[in-house]
Symmetry: C3
């Protein structure tokens, strides 16, 4: 019974519903090291720290064999072989081994450094789909405005154009100002006033980084009006983020109103608030969640995280993601650790008689693939 479920999960083609492009070209070891530490966005004083972590151990254990190295190979050998293969070949091997059929790619933070949608499809052998980051749309727009009063219509227009071929939108409100703000649809004059203030700041500073809760909230409502599923970054991120404001419970008032729209809201990552997110997923028809990103960072402990997500949240409300970004170790590890955790947990639950084997296989398919297909209307 045990190996039957493990085998089933191992063979399941996944939808990675929140991910970014892998690196396009070769780079120095420092880039790789910093990309393995999501939380610390300053250059690492002690890069060795990156390898002495659950993530570092998981990379050496699970990714090494895909680079023709033995499991648990030392960091020095790992990097040497990786550099020898080159970034693209590493990305090719790791993304293909992930067993992902569809990648839903957040294009809000891309540059020439990352593979674009077409390249990711070619490298990975999977299909790619675009998720538009709302704050990026606003930041491209603001410098072009003559005054704040134009902002509302201009943003809606720009979003419609940018989202024409997209299958979802995403907000990083948690990073920019936290969720602990009034998230009711802001009136036009408040939007105009906030846009005017921001336009002045951008004009003076020359950089456009949106942190105003009124404009971010406006963007979220505009995205919901389009009817596309809305992804929200929740919980852990780098030190720019105040983890207190990234608690999804602050979304309560928003969700009470929002639920009537029927537009899916997908809570991403969620650690350490995965139980709170699960509560919301049970309480609101429109709320979904994943525990991507954290899965990778927890390595061998990801099993407990994934088990914790499997508490209150209905099985139809959970999705798989890697949040891979940069080194394709993330794209692969997300899938490898998810398969391992789900395979182990479900095998235990079937062995103890709590679940049936057919239910276990069905739930694995739902979370790994079918829920995402339904929510994003993938063909």
């Amino acid at each position: 019974m045990s190996s039957e479920i493990v085998d089933f999960v191992a063979g399941l083609t996944l939808v990675d519903h929140h991910v970014h492009g892998a690196y396009r070209g070769d780079g120095p070891e420092e880039r790789f090291q910093n990309a393995l530490n999501e939380a610390n966005n300053a250059p690492l004083v002690d890069p060795g720290q990156v390898y002495d972590s659950q993530l570092g151990f998981a990379v050496r254990r699970w990714c090494a064999p895909l680079l023709d190295l033995p499991p648990h190979v030392g960091p020095h050998e790992y990097w040497r072989r990786r550099a020898e293969l080159g970034e693209l070949e590493a990305a090719r091997r790791l993304t293909r081994a992930a067993g992902v059929g569809d990648w839903l790619i957040d294009t809000g933070f891309t540059s020439g450094e990352f593979l674009d949608l077409t390249e990711m499809a070619a490298v990975s052998g999977g299909r790619t789909h675009e998720v538009v980051r709302l704050e990026a749309v606003a930041e491209e727009l603001v410098a072009t405005l003559d005054d704040g009063a134009e902002y509302g219509d201009a943003f809606r227009g720009a979003l419609q154009v940018r989202a024409r071929d997209a299958i979802g939108t995403k907000s990083v409100m948690a990073y920019r100002c936290g969720f602990d703000h009034d998230l009711a649809r802001p009136p036009s004059d408040a939007v105009a006033a906030a846009a005017a203030r921001w336009r002045d700041v951008v004009g003076a500073s020359g950089t456009a980084r949106l942190t105003d809760p009124v404009l971010i909230g406006f963007g979220i409502h505009a995205a919901v009006d389009l009817g596309l599923p809305l992804q929200l970054h929740v919980g852990l991120g780098d030190r720019d983020l105040d983890l207190r404001g990234a608690n999804p419970l602050h979304l309560l008032d928003f969700l009470r109103d929002h639920d009537r729209s029927g537009v899916p809201v997908l809570l991403l990552h969620c650690y350490p608030y995965e139980r709170e997110a699960g509560y919301l997923a049970q309480a609101f028809e429109t709320v979904y969640l994943d525990v991507g990103l954290a899965t990778n960072f927890l390595g061998v402990r990801s099993r407990e995280l994934i088990a914790g997500a499997l508490e209150l949240a209905p099985f139809g409300k959970q999705l798989y993601s890697s949040d891979g970004f940069g080194p394709a170790e993330h794209h692969y590890l997300g899938a490898a650790l998810w398969r391992r955790a789900v395979g182990d947990l479900f095998t235990d639950w079937v062995s103890s008689g709590d679940w049936s084997g057919s239910d276990a296989r069905r739930v694995a398919s739902m979370i790994g693939r079918d829920n995402a297909r339904r929510v994003y209307r993938l063909g």
Copy 2:
């Protein structure tokens, strides 16, 4: 050793210290489905979601055999057989299989739809005892008042009458306004002013729903003055509730004063704050806790929840409850999952040599029965 403890726990007659009446009569499948989703108090858009959850799987696994069905039977067959037996026969089977000797019934939310104290005793074969819900007493009272100044004495009088045969009181403050308010005993003029405001609202709206923290706090102090154990809803509930305000740590100032009274305060449910509740149970002589309701919703994961409750809280400060309400699956599952978790955990702890077998049996009896008997002075 293993089977000895499992057998002991299986044979223990429990006190279910927080529960409601089961349904009295037959109803449509929608009623059953909605009652399996505590958090979502709107009609379910996708009722199938209810069955694809830890709770749904636990119902199919553990309750099906009591309805003469095989474990893991499909939802359709489950409902068909349940409808065939009828609500009362299902309730009879499920409540009797729970192995509960005493049910402590919250009568604050009853109507003709639910079995009353006498009927629950007859159906279940156990004894029943009443717990009076404070907000219900206030809501029955408010429309009869001539002015706000009467409220204080009138509430105390009404509570004394209502609680004459009760063994405890209960507040749903967490639902109504959260705990993050000043919970010191309010002065008479503040109570009168709040009551006058509420009386006006009730007069205008025709509905009496108490949400004022001054009046709810007054009710709590009045209940403590009676000397009866006080139950407080903590943590998860439906979407009416703001989970942030339902964190029991907000009770700190209240408990610092309250502890001198010696009146037991019982924190109900507690998820996802069971560790915070355990901390309070260790810090304050009067604080007790349970993890009812959440136990049912977590199904196979309830073991970890119950293990988490067994951290800081002294074993003399923990109780069992199902929070069963409506379909008697809840009344049974609470007991079945509690027995299973405690049996498994204690067997492990005895096997590893951490606990002795006699301690394990003693603690199981304390939590399942003896603590409740002592706290509520059951004969």
Copy 3:
């Protein structure tokens, strides 16, 4: 493989980086009982509650054999034998069995009742080092001041003298006012004004207990200026403490500035915020953590706590401590439970192939000993 790692961890000489003196002389059973309940700082109404807890069971299981008693001996026999041996002989046996080579002793709360640095070294057979508690330095100083304006320089001077032979400093800000304050370096006039206010209070009341966030914050910055590692009490403590304010996420703004200093900040205990602390340890180069104190109180459940700490926090950022204070059961149990948890967890992770055996031994050495040696520059 299993027994190899367990044996390795069992043989590892630890650095207990946060601990207090054991009792010097004999005392009544009530003192012992109260010292086993950290959270309740009032005299216990029901002392038996202390023994019916994970900590009580752990004492009877693990400490009894060191007093020549069988595991799980009853509380009455345990106390009788303990009293027969005397406090010092119990302390000698328990501290020596802990296998600790270096004790880093917080001397901020000592009196004649506790062994001093020299005595702890003699009793335990280990080396001892001093950690200076900042609030104690301030409280010794305040009554000697002529006015508030002297406070800043006087505190810096007194701290320099007190810390001359110390290897670290410690603040109990979490206890005194919580972390949810502005922790930027306060300007001189604000310090002088706060000191003047405090001096008046002390003069009027005759007792000096520092609770002012400006002065506590000033002390923390003064300590960082000395360059010594700074310990911060985080999370659980007794009922004087408001657990909401003891959440380390409130330190975010402070840490963003502080990180440039390179001075280690050690988050102590952390329960129930060990995951939040781990997030900070990943995000900031200077942040370290332990889960001492809670480890003892959780007994058999300490394995899950220690596993939870081994999530986001890099392995180079975790330390061992017992927070032993008074009865030397704490000094021993911290080590015994840590070894047991680490031995079990790492054995599992090596058995499943996730970790290599040599990595497991290396990480155990880092957390149990080497990280502390490096951070505190122990010889």
